[in-house]
Amino acid sequence: MKKLFTATAVTALMAGSVHADEIKIGVILGFTGPIESLTPAMASGAELAMKEVSDSGLLLGGSTVVPVRADGTCVDSGAAVAAAERLITADKIDGIMGSDCSGVTGTILSNVALANEMVMISPSATSPGLSVAEDNGLFFRTAPSDARQGEVMTNVLMEEGVKEVALTYTNNDYGKGLADSFQAAFEAAGGSVTISAAHEDGKADYSAEIGALASAGGDRLVVAGYVDQGGSGIVRAALDAGAFETFHFPDGMIGARLEENFGNEIDGSTGQIPGTDSEGAAMLTKLVGDSFDATSSFVPESYDAAALILLAMQAAGSKASSDYKSKVMDVANQPGTVIFPGELAKGLQILKDGGEIDYVGATAVELIGPGESAGSYRQIKIDNGKITTVQYR
C-alpha cells in the first residue's frame, strides 16, 4: 500500500513537472449555433499558429502550446460563461483565443476575463460597443469594429449606384450594432434606408418580415444576419416572393453555405468581409495547404489572434496575463522586424534576443485605439453562383 502511495505521488509530481512546460490556450468559439459552419476552420487556424510555436521550441524556454477547445455557442451567454469558467478553473489556461460573436464575447469579458485577469483576443467580434467596454487592457480583437464596416458597406453600395436599400438584421448585439452603424453612414452619404427590420434567428416563418421589407422597397436588401440561421431564411423567402433580386451581405452572411444555398439565384449581389490582399494572407493559405480551408471567413484573424497571444508572452517573458497584456500592442505594431505567417519562430527568436517585432501576420495586423484592428475589407460579388473578390479596401 505504501508503495502504491509513493508511486502515485511520483506520477503526480512528474505530471506536474510536465505541466510547467505547457502553455494552454483556450479556444472558445461557437462550435454549435448560428455560425457553426465557420468555426471549425477558425479553430484550426488558431491551432496552426500554436503548433508552429510549439514546434519551434523557442517560446519561454521550449514550452509547448496546447489548445483547449470550448463551445461558446455564439448566442447563449450562460453556456459561454460556463465554458470560459471551466477553461480557467479546470484546464488552467493562460489566455483566451475568442470568443466569436459580439454578445458572448462581451459577456465572457465582463464576467470571466476581468474577474480572473485573463487576456482575450477575439478574431471576429465586431460590435462597436466592445470598443468602449471596460477591459483593464485585457481585451483585443484582430477584427475591425463594425463602425468601420458600416462605412465600407456604404462606399461599396454608393459606388454600385445603389441609393435606396431595405435593411434587415439579426436581433442581437452584432446585427443591431452593424445595422445602426451602417444606417448612420449610409444616410450621411446621402442614401436612404427605407426600413430597418429585425429578424429572429431559427424561427418558423419569415413571411411577415419579407412582407414589410418588400412593401418598404429599395434597390437592394441588406441582410446583416447569419448564413446558418435566419439570414438564409430571409434571403430564401425574399427570392421566392420576388421581393428583391440582389442583396448586400456583410461578414456574417459570407461563407460556403451561401453558395450552396443559393448558387446563381443571387448573382449580382455584393458584400464585404474583413480581409486583406497583403502577402500575409497568401502565405497563410500556402502554409495551411490542404488540411483545411484557409480562405474561410475569419481564419486569418484566428491565426493572428493566437500568434499575438504567444508572441506577447515571449516579449514579456511570462505566461501570466497580467504580465503580457501590455505587450500585445507592442508586438502587433511598429517598430520592429516585420513578421509574416510561418515566421513565428523568427519572431520568437528576435524577442528572445531582446529585439522588437512588428507582427503583420495574415491580416496586416495594426491594432489601434482600444486594441482593435484598423480594418481592411475584401469586397466580394456573387458571380455565376461563386463568391468572387472584387477588390480590397
Partner: protein, 336 residues
C-alpha cells in the same frame, strides 16, 4: 389596374404565405388537439415528433434521389412520405408502449403526463440530432414554382408579381385532403365514433365495450401521420432544421389553444388565426396604399401598425384575449 396591382401585392406577400403557414400550423395543431382530447394531456414532444417523421422522410428522399427515382415536377419527398409516416408510427408506438402506458395504467394526473412528454421531447430531439445532425437539410427537388414572379408579370402585364410555390400549393391541397379524411373518419366510421365516445366520457365508453387500448393506438397512428405530413410540408416549404421544429411548438400550441384544445375544427381555425395575425398586423401597407389611395393621399411612411419585432407578441396577445373572454377557446374545447 391599380386595384388589381394592390390585390396582387397583397396576395403575394400576405395571403398566400399566410394560407400556407396557416395550413402547416393547422396540421400540427390537429395532432396536439387530438392527443389532448383523447389521451388528455398536452404533448410537448409534438414538435420533435414532427422532426423525427420528417427526418425519416428526408433520409428516404435522399435514397430515392440517389437511385434516380423521382416523380416529375413534384418533390420526391411525397414518394418517401409513407415511409416517413411508417418510421414515425414505429417510434411513437414504441414510446407509448415503453413510457406512456406505464403512467396510463397508474391513472397518473395530466400534469405528470405533460412532464413525461417533456422528457420524451428531449430524447426525440437528441435522436434526431444524433442521426441527421443539427444543420439545415435541403431535400426539395422538382419544379419550384407553380407560377413565378417573372412569368406572372409577363403573363398579365401587371407591375406587381405573384409567386405561388409548388410547396405552397401542395401544402394547401394536402391539408384540405387530410382534414377531409380525418373528419370523415371521426364522424362517420365506427372507430372514429368510439374515439369520440372515449374522449367524451372514458368510463361510459369502457362500459359500452369500447376497447381503450385500441382507441389509444389508433390515436397515436393518426397523430404520427399528421405530425409527419405537417413536418414534411413545412420542411419542403422552408427547410429542415431540428431546432426550428422545436421552436414550432410555440405557434402550434398557441393555435390549438386559441381554437379550443380538444376541438379539431378549432385547431384549424386557430392555425389560420395565428398565421394571419402574425403576417397582417405587422405588414407595411405602404405598397398597397400607394396603388389604392388617390394621388394626394399617398403615404410617405410605411403604414405599419407594429414593427415585425412584435409578431410573436401579436399571436400571444390574441391568445391572452381569447383565454380571458372565452377560456375554452374560440370553438369551445375542453377547459384546461
Amino acid at each position: 389596374m391599380d386595384l388589381l396591382n394592390a390585390l396582387v401585392a397583397l396576395s403575394n406577400f400576405v395571403l398566400i404565405p399566410a394560407i400556407a403557414y396557416g395550413s402547416q400550423l393547422a396540421l400540427g395543431a390537429l395532432g396536439v388537439t387530438l392527443i389532448y382530447g383523447i389521451l388528455r394531456f398536452s404533448n410537448f414532444a409534438h414538435g420533435d415528433t414532427m422532426a423525427f417523421g420528417t427526418m425519416v422522410t428526408v433520409l428516404f428522399t435522399w435514397w430515392f434521389q440517389s437511385k434516380g427515382i423521382t416523380i416529375g415536377p413534384l418533390p420526391t419527398a411525397l414518394l418517401a412520405l409513407p415511409f416517413g409516416i411508417m418510421g414515425c408510427i414505429i417510434l411513437i408506438l414504441a414510446t407509448d408502449r415503453i413510457i406512456y402506458r406505464f403512467y396510463r395504467v397508474q391513472k397518473a394526473k395530466p400534469v405528470i403526463f405533460v412532464i413525461v412528454s417533456l422528457g420524451v421531447m428531449f430524447i426525440m430531439n437528441g435522436i434526431v440530432r444524433f442521426v441527421i445532425g443539427p444543420n439545415d437539410q435541403r431535400f426539395l427537388d422538382g419544379e419550384r414554382f407553380i407560377i413565378s414572379v417573372r412569368n406572372f408579370k409577363a403573363l398579365t402585364g401587371l407591375q406587381e408579381g405573384l409567386a405561388i410555390k409548388t410547396t405552397q400549393g401542395l401544402t394547401v391541397i394536402t391539408a384540405i385532403i387530410v382534414v377531409g379524411v380525418l373528419f370523415y373518419f371521426l364522424n362517420h366510421t365506427r372507430t372514429g365514433k368510439s374515439m369520440r365516445a372515449y374522449s367524451d366520457n372514458e368510463d361510459l365508453a369502457l362500459l359500452s365495450g369500447i376497447n381503450p387500448d385500441k382507441v389509444v393506438i389508433i390515436t397515436w397512428l393518426i397523430v404520427a401521420t399528421l405530425a409527419t405530413i405537417a413536418g414534411v410540408l413545412y420542411g419542403l416549404d422552408k427547410s429542415f432544421k431540428p431546432f426550428t421544429y422545436f421552436q414550432l411548438l410555440l405557434p402550434i400550441f398557441a393555435a390549438a389553444i386559441v381554437g379550443g384544445l380538444g376541438n379539431p375544427i378549432g385547431a384549424i381555425a386557430g392555425g389560420f388565426t395565428i398565421a394571419f395575425s402574425e403576417v397582417t398586423i405587422t405588414y407595411a401597407w405602404k405598397k398597397v396604399a400607394i396603388y389604392v389611395l388617390p394621388e394626394g393621399l399617398k403615404p410617405d411612411g410605411l403604414v405599419q401598425l407594429l414593427s415585425t419585432d412584435y409578431k410573436f407578441a401579436v399571436s400571444f396577445a390574441i391568445l391572452l384575449i381569447v383565454l380571458l373572454f372565452k377560456p375554452t377557446g374560440l370553438f369551445s374545447g375542453k377547459s384546461v
